[in-house]
């Protein structure tokens, strides 16, 4: 089975401000299949954002290796699209220019194909009338949708999302979860989704990686057998509720250690 993303015995240590070493990750092993949606969940400090940055090529592992498409990761790769916690839209650019920004930033130019694709993405996220607005004229949820559209401009195989909905209010979060489900069903990708929300993880993922802190490590990988397409009904499915309780218990007991 060809794996898209491999983390092999990855350990990450940082030097903290007083000079002492901090182990952010210890011996993490992860193998992701093509078009799999996995969530990384765990308490603060368990290293889930570090895992994401290692896959993104923004960090190099202290030990072990990270491979994408069976090639070691040394720098950010073109096959990856990334969405951050904050929308990170450039305030001086219009919405549509923000979506095409990756091309302008990487290659210095935006061709007609990119423009067309940006328009299509605007349509997909339902903001076709907002193309010429500035980010500050949009709500938080709309901005984050633009950020997602931006990450999809070059049609990446892999989407990395670092708590993309955590800065949004609860209602918008739910809406965005279903939005993401829809986007992923239209163009399947391998997605690594970092979240604090067990509900989000269960709703969106094929597998959930539960991590624990001090040092950061994988404590359990759980298969999510819920049928797709996932809908509002899924939230009230007894399997959903049971799994949510199990995971919650796990996270709390581990955290208490």
């Amino acid at each position: 089975m060809p794996c898209v993303i491999d983390l092999n015995a990855v350990t990450q240590t940082f030097v903290s401000s007083d000079g002492s070493p901090v182990t952010a990750l210890h011996n993490v092993n992860l193998h992701l299949q093509r078009n799999e949606f996995i969530s990384l969940i765990g308490p603060s400090g368990c290293g889930k954002s570090t895992v994401l940055r290692l896959i993104a090529g923004l960090l190099r592992p202290s030990a072990g290796e990270v491979r994408i498409f069976d090639l070691p990761v040394t720098e950010p790769r073109d096959e990856i699209g990334m969405v951050f916690q904050k929308p990170t839209l450039l305030p001086w650019l219009s919405v549509v220019d923000n979506i095409t920004f990756p091309m302008r930033h990487k290659y210095g130019r935006v061709d007609a194909r990119d423009q067309a694709r940006a328009q299509a993405l605007l349509q997909m996220i339902g903001l076709q009338d907002f193309g010429h607005k500035r980010p500050h004229e949009l709500s938080g949820g709309m901005q984050q949708r633009v950020a997602i559209a931006r990450s999809l401009l070059h049609d990446p195989d892999i989407l990395l999302m670092d708590e993309p909905f955590s800065a949004l209010d609860a209602l918008t979060r739910d809406e965005m979860s279903f939005e993401l489900l829809r986007i992923c069903s239209e163009r399947p990708k391998t997605v690594v989704f970092v979240t604090h929300s067990i509900q989000e993880a269960l709703l969106l993922s094929d597998r959930i990686v539960v991590m624990s802190a001090r040092p950061g490590r994988v404590s359990q990988i759980i298969d999510v057998p819920l049928a797709r397409p996932r809908t509002l009904q899924t939230l009230t499915d007894p399997v959903f509720t049971r799994m949510a309780n199990e995971i919650r218990e796990q996270v709390f007991t581990r955290h208490a250690h």
Partner: protein
């Protein structure tokens, strides 16, 4: 009527002040060479003639603008270089502080002796004065880009030049423009200081010349023009900021 008065309260207050000034000078018979009345200043201004005034105003403004332009041209690339290289920053920053700590009035005569008479030493003095706030603010602006935007830039694998041009510089704009407003007024100060040391025309020269021959009303008129010029340049920088970089100004609620 009341709304009109409120909006223009500052200007109206100034006019009232002028009126009181005029009355006080006449009532107390203040000598002209100590404190001229506004009417005397206006009269003296008229006596010089428009052509002569234009000559003096332009002499000062020309040096101020040249020095300002040179200061911008030097400071921004230097600020970029300092932000990129920690080594360069350590080497250059102390020297910048030294330059800034040196009283420009003391250095001005030395510069004139070294660079001779003419426009060059005056532009050099002006540039020296206007330079420091621009470097410091630009450095601050370039390094206070929110971390997530640098991460975005890195995740897109853009080269450093593009990172600076497309992400860091635009974020630095508010800092750069606040320094540009300060620097433009400093450039006028620099031009005037330079004229005190070595010049045959200009508003600074005129103030020096006329006060030494007790033609104080003319000096006041020159001062008023100086202030007006400084204000105009300041407003011009403000306008450029709004017009071309309006997105970086704080939004009105």
């Amino acid at each position: 009527m009341k709304a009109f008065a409120f909006r223009h309260a500052s200007l109206l207050a100034f006019i009232v002040l002028l009126g009181l000034w005029e009355l006080a000078c006449r009532a107390l018979a203040v000598p002209e060479f100590i404190l001229p009345a506004p009417s005397a200043i206006a009269l003296a201004a008229g006596s010089l003639g428009l052509a002569r005034w234009a000559e003096h105003v332009w002499a000062t403004i020309e040096v101020a603008l040249l020095g300002y332009a040179l200061a911008i041209a030097l400071s921004i690339p230097l600020a970029v270089a300092i932000t990129r290289s920690a080594l360069l920053s350590r080497i250059v920053m102390p020297w910048l502080v030294v330059i800034q700590s040196t009283p420009i009035v003391a250095v001005a005569p030395i510069i004139v002796v070294t660079l001779g008479a003419g426009v060059l030493p005056r532009v050099a003095i002006t540039t020296l004065l206007a330079f420091f706030p621009l470097v410091v603010s630009t450095c601050l602006g370039l390094s206070s880009v929110p971390a997530e935007f640098i991460e975005l830039s890195r995740s897109l694998r853009a080269n450093t030049a593009r990172q600076y041009w497309q992400v860091r510089m635009p974020f630095a704009i508010p800092h750069v423009f606040s320094a540009m407003k300060v620097s433009v007024t400093l450039a006028v100060v620099g031009a005037v200081v330079a004229e005190f040391v070595a010049a045959e025309k200009g508003l600074g020269y005129l103030i020096l010349f006329t006060t030494s021959s007790f033609k104080v009303p003319v000096a006041f008129a020159a001062l008023a023009l100086l202030v007006l010029s400084s204000l105009t340049l300041y407003s011009l920088v403000q306008w450029v900021h709004q017009r071309f970089f309006g997105w970086s100004s704080p939004k009105k609620a």
